[in-house]
């Protein structure tokens, strides 16, 4: 089982169960998590699926994809070292327990 926790800007948390192979973005949509808009549906064209990966999880989620940084640079909220496009993080058992923060502004 893979659990993912989404943390809203106000600190409230929602933990949901993900299907392996789904992205962090798709999992958010499947569970009606606020603040993940994902207008482009995962084509890395919109930057409305921006998240901050919490603490040590950044090692597990790996490096940004080719072209991801340019798109993150277009996000409405500040790009930080921990910024990722959630459509580009594929969930595996190794990511069970993953915690991601949703930015203040998404679109």
């Amino acid at each position: 089982m893979i659990n993912v926790t989404y943390i809203q800007p106000d600190g409230s948390e929602t933990t949901v169960t993900a299907q392996p192979g789904d992205s962090v973005m798709q999992t958010a949509l499947n569970n009606n998590i606020d603040g993940i808009i994902a207008e482009c549906g995962g084509s890395m064209a919109c930057a409305t699926c921006h998240v901050y990966v919490e603490g040590e999880w950044a090692d597990q989620t790996g490096a940004r994809m080719d072209g991801e940084e340019d798109m993150l640079d277009c996000a409405m909220s500040e790009m930080k070292d921990t910024s990722r496009l959630s459509c580009q993080i594929k969930l595996t058992e190794a990511l069970d327990g993953l915690r991601v923060h949703i930015p203040e502004e998404q679109a």
Partner: protein, 407 residues
């Protein structure tokens, strides 16, 4: 070997269901819904003997096939012709009709030039142009939605955004229609497009030259990537050509189809006027509901499989985006047009590495038009029959008589 529509004839596995129709007949292009249903019902993968091609129309298989760039390539053409076997009618696009790693390089340049950040800088111009246009149209008792609004808006704002010094609105709209008819079979539509191609294509190529562009538009951004050594100057001209092939007729269709949806569903116009946060989601629903690009193809570059059926190297696969966008297995009550549906994952912009790189511009144009209209227009009423215009890849209106009732 004799080719069929420029590709190798296919002997399909006998277990693949057969659909004996012509998906490029006027009848189907004008009213694709029954064909789309038949395609989905026939199976996850279907053989169409008329053109010796395979086809997918169910959501899952369409999405998977269309975005599987390793097995199903774009470099052999996204129409019926196999570029490996037959010379294409124009030099292929260096973004749409290539595979990685060539694609990766040009895609990066284009996605920077068309990024959400850049589009935000264009929004004031888009909104100002929409105000002028809508005010003018509100003075008329009746409008023809296709020419007066759907064509008028993009042909005003898009060449300006690109920084074109030469503007010929007719050529800009028609070039897209030619390019899109060219992906079909050798039918009347394609033949007529090919007759006009030398004139319109010649004008387009000339208009893409650096000295025909201002130094502060999207075109200049692409040429500056060439100055920086990311691409060559010839490639920059080709990418500007891609703006013009893919960026005008498509948004014209998007606006026309949006007006059609909203004139046919006055209750949804009310919902939109009451909640302008739904303007962007409304356009997504227009895209799902009308699929401006109804079909593009892929070519199997290796022996592959779809839904467990064998697909031999060289096979052309029609991906009916319009059918996937109406698949009841994916969408609840697909025949209902609902501005609050938020159909994330629709196929109207494609999916995967070739997913529309201009989608932010398209959304920006539609947001400008629809938000100005939501402020100023009480009702959008049909004033006669809407007529569709057959095209081998685009599902667009030919005529849309409307009455715009001011607030």
């Amino acid at each position: 070997m004799t080719l069929i529509e420029g590709h190798r004839p296919l002997t399909p596995d006998p277990s693949i269901p057969v659909l004996d129709i012509d998906p490029y007949s006027d009848e189907i292009l004008l009213d694709p819904a029954p064909y789309h249903a038949a395609l989905r019902d026939a199976g996850p993968l279907v053989y169409i003997p008329r053109y010796s091609v395979l086809a997918v129309g169910r959501y899952d298989e369409t999405r998977k096939t269309f975005s599987d760039h390793e097995n199903f390539v774009s470099s052999r053409g996204i129409g019926l012709n196999d570029f490996k076997l037959e010379k294409p009618w124009r030099p292929p696009s260096i973004i749409l009709e290539v595979d990685p790693p060539d694609h990766t390089k040009t895609r990066k340049v284009m996605s920077k030039a068309l990024s959400p950040k850049i589009v935000r800088t264009l929004m004031n111009d888009f909104t100002a142009a929409a105000e002028v246009l809508v005010d003018r149209l509100l003075e008329k008792s009746e409008i023809e939605g296709v020419v007066d609004l759907a064509e008028a808006f993009p042909t005003t704002v898009f060449p300006a955004a690109v920084g074109m010094k030469d503007v010929n609105a007719r050529h800009l709209v028609d070039y897209g229609a030619i390019v899109f008819n060219a992906v079909g079979p050798d039918n009347d539509l394609r033949r007529r497009a090919m007759e006009r191609a030398p004139e319109v294509g010649g004008w387009i190529t000339a208009a893409c030259a650096r000295d025909r562009l201002t130094d502060d538009g999207l075109g200049a951004l692409v040429y500056s990537a060439a100055d920086a050594g990311e691409i060559s100057h010839e490639e920059a001209a080709m990418l500007v050509r891609s703006f013009l092939s893919a960026g005008v007729d498509t948004t014209v269709t998007g606006i026309g189809n949006a007006l059609w949806c909203l004139s046919q569903n006055p209750d949804q116009w009310e919902v939109l006027k009451a909640n302008t946060l739904l303007i962007r989601p409304c356009f997504e629903e227009v895209l799902r509901y009308t699929s401006p690009v109804h079909t593009f193809l892929r070519t199997a570059n290796l022996d592959a499989e779809i839904a467990g059926y064998p697909v031999p190297e060289g096979a052309k696969i029609m991906c009916a985006l319009g059918a996937a966008n109406m698949d009841p297995a994916k969408w609840h009550d697909p025949e209902a047009f609902r501005v609050d549906r938020k159909p994330v994952g629709h196929m109207a912009f494609g999916a995967g590495i070739h997913g529309c790189v201009g989608q932010n511009i398209a959304r920006g144009e539609l947001e400008a038009v629809l938000s100005v209209m939501a402020r100023k227009v009480a009702r959008i009423e049909p004033a006669g029959e809407a007529v569709w215009r057959p095209n081998n890849a685009i599902h667009a209106l030919d005529r849309l008589p409307l009455k715009l009732i001011p607030n």
